[in-house]
Symmetry: C2
């Protein structure tokens, strides 16, 4: 929902015009809304010089739950059962490998006494705790969840969050090759099965570290470099599989860059996520806002 | 927040391209987001043929409160006190004249035993009722509110809402000249004082009916046609003052069309709400998406 909190945006375009987009208003229906065109344009249309951000009410006290899950696609059945019972403020997941990396790096305790192949992390209002415990019981009864822990204090909630938030930093030393993929939540089961098989078959010798915002349909697939392998050889091998991964994303009408943007690394893969007509329109809009091509040149849009 | 619920938009442009904008995804950072460009473009760029709307959780049971307020700008002090105490799901207002029209037209009971020049209608979660009653007490103690009523059932909440929702229909017979204005909420006091004085001075013989979504900074200023006056003479007199009203909106960086769009009626006033550079960019974008100018021609954009 975050884009909607940008109530106003002042931008200098590539042509040197200063635009005052939406003027910080809540309601405004006076023609084309340029705000959302600049948000996510990676600086290729203009330079954002000022932003009005709308404030929101502080959240209620939150509870965090971490669950052990045996099978990748069961995570989605767990999501469904919890969403039927209550409103979640977060639903994240990570694999056992990700947990091993983060507990070692940050010297954290494991959340559950037994290992599980995957873990789900849920956050919700403290007032919904009974509903969450009810959903937990139905998940255990259905064999979807092996074990779970519920935060008993804000400090413990924060400690559980570290297990998810510390992952990216804890694998940085492994020079991960990162993918930031999303599909509609309803298409995640089909997507997960295909991708996991593909990666295991093609990289039997690489560690693959999965985690992400699975409640939003957004998965981070991190392939970790073996210590002995030179970085350029590693990246070259990873690049080989990218078109196959992106083709599966495209077949499910998903995104090859869910939250981190296109830049240079994903630029030539943009046709997996946007049609030829859309890319042509993006080029034409770039020409309107930045006729001399001086705004972040070379980024985002593949060469025509 | 409504735009953010449009998760996907399929559009046929004026050039005949079928675009699949955002693909129904929650997270997607693959270049320019065209969704928001089409929402509110009044059909001038393309024809929307399919929309994905995200569902939201049903709201908690709601309570409705109607308050009598003596002075226009006190409504904003009331808004502030309630917002300090709780989260409001609606904050509307209407004038005594609007109340007279709607109670006569729909044969409704008046909400309070005494008349007040203005009324505020508030809606909030039933669980916040105590906080709302506390805020009410502070408003009465500060002399901001003369009286109030709180819904005791869903039926009564619905009856109170009719007092606001029925206004537009109840003045339709008076052939109102409508303005749909917004400014930032913080600028409403300065805006209200100026506009009310202006309208009273220029139209001493016309009834002026104020109501609107004041919590969003959005006011509907309806000037009612006296029965004896021919419609063309009435509209001509109203048109005379529009540039003065819009100049005050522009001085406060507001919107001359908060929620109803520009179309033909407001088209030539667009420069009060959008800069020359923005209008030039809008024309250039129209040329990109609709090179032959076949999409809702003549609407929204003033002639160059």
């Amino acid at each position: 929902m975050t884009r909607e909190w940008v109530a106003g945006l002042r931008v200098v375009t590539g042509a040197g015009d200063l635009l005052d987009c939406n003027r910080g208003l809540i309601k405004n229906a006076t023609g084309y809304d340029l705000r959302h065109l600049f948000v996510g344009s990676e600086g290729t249309l203009g330079l954002v010089v000022e932003v009005d951000i709308r404030l929101t009410a502080p959240p209620e006290p939150q509870r965090v739950m971490v669950l052990g899950v045996s099978r990748f696609r069961d995570i989605l059945a767990v999501l469904d059962r919890f969403q039927q019972a209550l409103t979640l403020s977060a639903f994240e997941f990570f694999s056992e490998l990700a947990l091993e990396k983060v507990t070692a790096h940050r010297k954290l305790a494991r959340p559950l006494s037994d290992q599980a192949p995957f873990y789900a992390l849920l956050e919700f209002d403290a007032s919904a705790e009974d509903k969450a415990l009810g959903a937990f019981d139905t998940c255990v009864a259905a064999g979807l969840v092996t074990d779970g822990v519920l935060s008993q204090s804000d400090a413990q909630a924060s400690a559980l969050w570290q297990l998810r938030e510390g992952i990216s930093e804890s694998i940085a030393a492994c020079t991960p090759y990162k993918n930031d993929l999303s599909v509609r939540v309803s298409r995640l089961p089909a997507f997960l099965d295909g991708i996991d098989d593909l990666v295991r078959a093609r990289y039997p010798d690489f560690e693959v570290c999965w985690y992400g915002h699975i409640g939003d349909g957004n998965l981070h697939l991190n392939i970790l470099k073996p210590d002995a392998l030179p970085q350029d050889v590693f990246f070259e091998r990873c690049h080989e599989i990218s078109p196959e991964i992106f083709a599966r994303v495209a077949a499910l009408n998903g995104s090859i860059s869910a939250e981190h943007g296109v830049g240079l690394l994903k630029r030539d893969f943009l046709p997996f996520a946007r049609s030829a007509a859309e890319i042509a329109l993006m080029r034409a809009m770039k020409a309107v806002f930045d006729p001399a091509g001086i705004m972040n040149p070379g980024k985002l849009l593949p060469a025509a």
